[in-house]
Symmetry: C2
Subunit: 445 residues, 2 copies
Amino acid sequence: MAHDQPIGEASAPLAPAILQEEWLTLSPQERLDRFHRLPWADAEMFFLSLSTHDQAEVVRGLPLAEQRLWMRLLAPDDAADVIQEAPPEERDGLLALLAEPIREEVRGLLAYDEEEAGGLMNPRFAHVRPEMHSREALTALRQQAKKSLDMPYYIYVLDREQRLLGVVSFRELFMASTEASVRDLMQAEVISVAEDQDQESVAAVIAQHDFLAVPVVDQVGRIKGIVTVDDVMDVVREEATEDIQKLAGMQAFDMPYLRTGFGPLLKKRAGWLMVLFLGEMLTATAMGYFEDEIARAVVLALFVPLIISSGGNSGSQAATLVVRAMALGEVRLRDWWRVLRRELGAGLALGAVLGSIGMLRIIVWQLLFHPYGEHWIWVALTVGLALVGVVLWGTLSGSMLPFVMQKFGVDPATSSAPFVATLVDVTGLVIYFTVASVMLRGALL
Amino acid sequence: MAHDQPIGEASAPLAPAILQEEWLTLSPQERLDRFHRLPWADAEMFFLSLSTHDQAEVVRGLPLAEQRLWMRLLAPDDAADVIQEAPPEERDGLLALLAEPIREEVRGLLAYDEEEAGGLMNPRFAHVRPEMHSREALTALRQQAKKSLDMPYYIYVLDREQRLLGVVSFRELFMASTEASVRDLMQAEVISVAEDQDQESVAAVIAQHDFLAVPVVDQVGRIKGIVTVDDVMDVVREEATEDIQKLAGMQAFDMPYLRTGFGPLLKKRAGWLMVLFLGEMLTATAMGYFEDEIARAVVLALFVPLIISSGGNSGSQAATLVVRAMALGEVRLRDWWRVLRRELGAGLALGAVLGSIGMLRIIVWQLLFHPYGEHWIWVALTVGLALVGVVLWGTLSGSMLPFVMQKFGVDPATSSAPFVATLVDVTGLVIYFTVASVMLRGALL
């Protein structure tokens, strides 16, 4: 919820700003103590700038008489979010602190999932009737503004059943002649979102059209509330953080790193590490198949980490590129063929670059230190060719896996980069030793 | 720049929406053709919804007479962005298309770096004098609104030298008695940003305070423009994308994946892949030192991929967590000690989990298939212990590297996850073979 008025810095020299810096390092009890010592005006500003999670923590830590004060300071959608942060058994108590009409609004909001438009929206918005004239409309808005309306710059035009007929900007209303009718001023077709629309897609609508707010309507076109750009900005940040964490092979964290308890910290990380570890065990199995080759040509083992990590790195790159492009709506499911063609070229080119460097390294070392025996030229060719194959394979599987995941309804961000790396480690070994057994037959093997 | 009025859907059934879907798949020439065929109202809406890059492409593709039309449709800050997208030799021509007073504004904006507050700001904003009364102020605003003001909900109070004295919300002015003076209504202390402040930190100020806009002031406190929340939303998305791409070991892309030419696509990816490859070559060197051990106990080579990838995965996790927490301001340089302590615990715990699974795997396989010879129990212990060491080391170096990078003024996102993985691959081998040479001395070695 945007503050209706910009908040100035505190008159006490920057106390809240300093507290903001310290806040993370304090225990819950210290936080309450510091919060209590703030002057009223600072405390209000500070409280409103806290995250929903911290607002809930502060409110729940205060004595009952004080809880009411802070809960009533919140806009209905923020109050609903704070109540959702509390354990189920405390929710009715917090709800009861609100004033009667607001309590009903908040109860309505609690019915929605936190991650959809209904859970994000503010049920209050400026509205007028189509038959009003500009002057009447401004008077009506002045009345509505007294009930602490949030952002009165899009004015929604509703019929008696609350159906959305159109929208008019505050500026147009303000500048129109006093006798112009709302019906003539309004735009009749309005982009809106559904109550159960996912918050990420609501954010995309607002971002794409540079809207300040978008109305939420039910199935029969009745307006239920508005989602404002500032709420959506938090969504964009949260979703990016979730994607980044998932891409690195862990579950998304619910809370800032330093605030996550040690237990949850481990749980979020150990799960995927174990899955990847189990997958990676197949490398031991794969290497087992080539144990005889390794015994005869130990030199082959030396390049195993180099080769599989090159496949893993190029696969992670490709997977990350495609996953992010999908999240931003730049690449869709049906683009898989275009992506495949590009990545085929990119994989071959990148493989050729790394393969050449790899061969050059072996040739130079051989000339300087002679470590690779008489068949060194075949070793160099094996490594170079295997690098082309592994990098190409890593790039292709990295770029295609996100499409497969999306096709089957799995979030493509989920651990795809390390998953590709693991996949390519196992298959990369097979590629490497297969190339070796062809190239080195009769020489080393 | 926010549209001052919400834009309705097109009257032609959804033409722009469909074009939006297709846009990515069209060639520049096809785009211009399709754009030309849109009805005027749709074309206007569609043009405004395009990214800066695409707006520049469309404008530059049009005949001169039509260029003027579209350039003049843009708000000054957007016009400046479009001009910055064009090659230097075309910029003066585009600038000349603008109407006289706006041309000067845009020229002023072009002096700023695109990535700082000055390059992001709109030089137009609503302003009043402190001695005005509410009614006079509203009249003044009505005049200013005619010059297509952007968002008239924060009204800035300026003295005759354009110095920022305070701010008043439009709502307060609108609801105040007509005789109330601006000086009494305004808040005297205003949070502002500097002209050269980085866009990421401007975004953080707006996000933290839930502002709709923040004023940009010069060193002597004169207001130069305002940055609005919708401009900043694009910044948040762009910065997240850059971080995600850097974290996966590539340079940040300037353009959407499918729009990036094949040459730039390779260039952005090959650079870091080559650096990582050169680093990873050290694994061949490290394994070379242990060639004798491998020759005597080939079984050791089988677990190399498993062990180094476990270190890499846990290191990437830790690095990503810390980098993202830093970007969100949740972790700062001075928190390194707290992070180190947590990651020490996490690394040991995760290492113990993976080490146990690894040992269990060897024991079970031995009981079923007897592949690891008579000293299998020592092999199991070696692998288990090495896993604890490698995972602990990966976690610690992954969590500390971002602090080192930030300390030396390098963006911690830059390739840190794969860089840690490479570092841990090399050092992990040393840990593994050192543990092996101690544990297996007299048995296998």
